[in-house]
Amino acid sequence: MAASSSTHRAVGELYAQHHGWVVQLLRRKLGGQEQALDLAQDTFVRILSSGPLPSLREPRAYLNTVASRLCGQYFRRQALERAYEQSLAILEPEHAPSPETRLLVLEALDAVGQVLDGLGSRVREVFLLSQLDGLTYPQIAEQLGLTVNVVQKAMLKAYRHCYLAVYQA
């Protein structure tokens, strides 16, 4: 989405006044200067690309919200990468995927994870057992110790969540 020039100006002002503060905030959360600078940059890019800036009485609260969300995504990505590395560690070296393949797998999984973010773990598990494993609702119910009715409700909730993540983001 192209940002209008007035949005550009407003975000520019925000940047000038608060960039240092955002970097500091992120350094506390992340522990490193370099990632803090990167994510601070991402924070302002995210704000710039999300349309007209709302009028902000507490600009730092808003910046904190956006930066924290990016921070959460960063940590989840890290956890995903670490988990993936560990899962590969028990494979024989000749079966290990190439670095390019690893990156593609991680990118795609992270994209799925972002769409599912915010769903409870049980609802997510139900949804993935249906979509990825192709299990029927009675099979999911049996595997997770739920009733079929609960499985069906979880499916509705998960589908709606994903839909809103993509179509009303």
Partner: protein, 322 residues
């Protein structure tokens, strides 16, 4: 890659979305039939908005599958689980707020994650697959089987597996009932609580093994023997059943086996519910049946025995007197 991007920018009514969600969830249940399919097709045809909503939802499912197509479904699920486990740790860290706490937060995260990470393999109904473990040997998982891997130790949570140990490593297998400790270069089948079996069964194809019930005495058996143990004790060693490893080749070889037992085994390989009418449960069956095509095996049974198979939507099947 353009996954999870809107497929169009049209407006969609909220209630149309609700209806589409209901249809989608109904048709994916695995228990709906041709009547529902026809009704859904009619609904989609009735209004372009309906079709639009339907296409958006099927697009989501398609993106989900293609994003994880490089991985077995259980691994993809586990990776996603690991990814979101961290967010809780991060939350804690946010409360602490200081650099030093952040460093500690990392170690907390490691401790919480490590035991549940990726050590977990699961097969779905009808699936059999090999798992190679660096240094630990080779494992083949039967249908509906779940194992955890922690370094040189396997935990069999459910189902059945074939394990071939390598020369230089020692693997202990844990089940709900105790430990199974095979010698190097052994081939053995371990199953836990399969239909009609209470406890852990160990079948030795080659080599030797020591079993240790959690609260009972150890027992060693060798090639051509099998035993079953629970938490307290082990059965004596018995001769290995013929064709014990036929399942690894996708076969069920029955030798005067009661029909009910054959059905129980096929049921583990077949999606849905498979039942045997008690009136024919005791019929004796001899022959070789495909586990990979359980419905074809049912049809074969109906040819050689005085039985027929009643199917409802292909999901529920009952073997009844002909």
């Amino acid at each position: 890659m353009t996954l999870f991007q809107p497929a169009d920018d049209q407006l969609l009514d909220e209630y149309v979305l609700d209806q589409a969600l209901m249809w989608m969830v109904t048709l994916q249940s695995g228990v709906s039939g041709a009547a529902e399919q026809r009704a859904c097709a009619a609904w989609r045809n009735a209004n372009p908005q309906h079709e639009l909503a339907w296409q958006r939802l099927t697009g989501l499912s398609r993106d989900l599958r293609s994003s994880t197509s490089g991985l077995p479904a259980p691994s993809a699920r586990q990776l996603l689980r690991a990814r979101s486990l961290t967010s809780r740790r991060t939350l804690l860290k946010g409360f602490a707020g200081l650099g030093i706490a952040a460093a500690m937060g990392l170690s907390v995260r490691e401790r919480v994650l490590l035991p549940q990470l990726f050590s977990d393999y699961r097969t779905t109904t009808g699936e059999r697959r090999p798992v190679r473990l660096a240094g630990a040997g080779e494992v083949q998982l039967d249908t509906q089987t779940a194992v955890d891997v922690r370094g040189p130790q396997l935990t069999l949570n459910q189902g059945r597996l074939l394990l071939a140990t390598t020369a230089d490593t020692f693997v202990g297998i844990k089940t709900a009932h105790g430990w199974v400790r095979p010698a190097a270069l052994s081939r053995l089948i371990i199953s836990q609580d399969l239909a009609g079996q209470h406890g852990t069964q160990v079948q030795m194809l080659a080599g030797s093994v020591v079993v240790e019930p959690l609260q009972g005495a150890r027992l060693a058996i060798g090639t051509g023997q099998q035993l079953t143990f629970d938490r307290h004790q082990s059965s004596p060693a018995q001769p290995l059943l013929p064709a014990a490893d036929a399942w690894t080749r996708g076969l069920l070889i029955a030798e005067r086996m009661p029909l009910a037992q054959v059905i129980e085994q096929l049921n583990r390989y077949r999606r849905g519910v498979l039942r045997c009418d008690p009136a024919v449960a005791g019929l004796q069956v001899s022959g070789s049946f495909s586990l990979d095509r359980p419905d074809a095996s049912l049809d074969l049974l109906a040819k050689v025995l005085p039985v027929r198979v009643q199917r409802v939507f292909g999901y529920l099947a009952t073997v009844v007197p002909a």
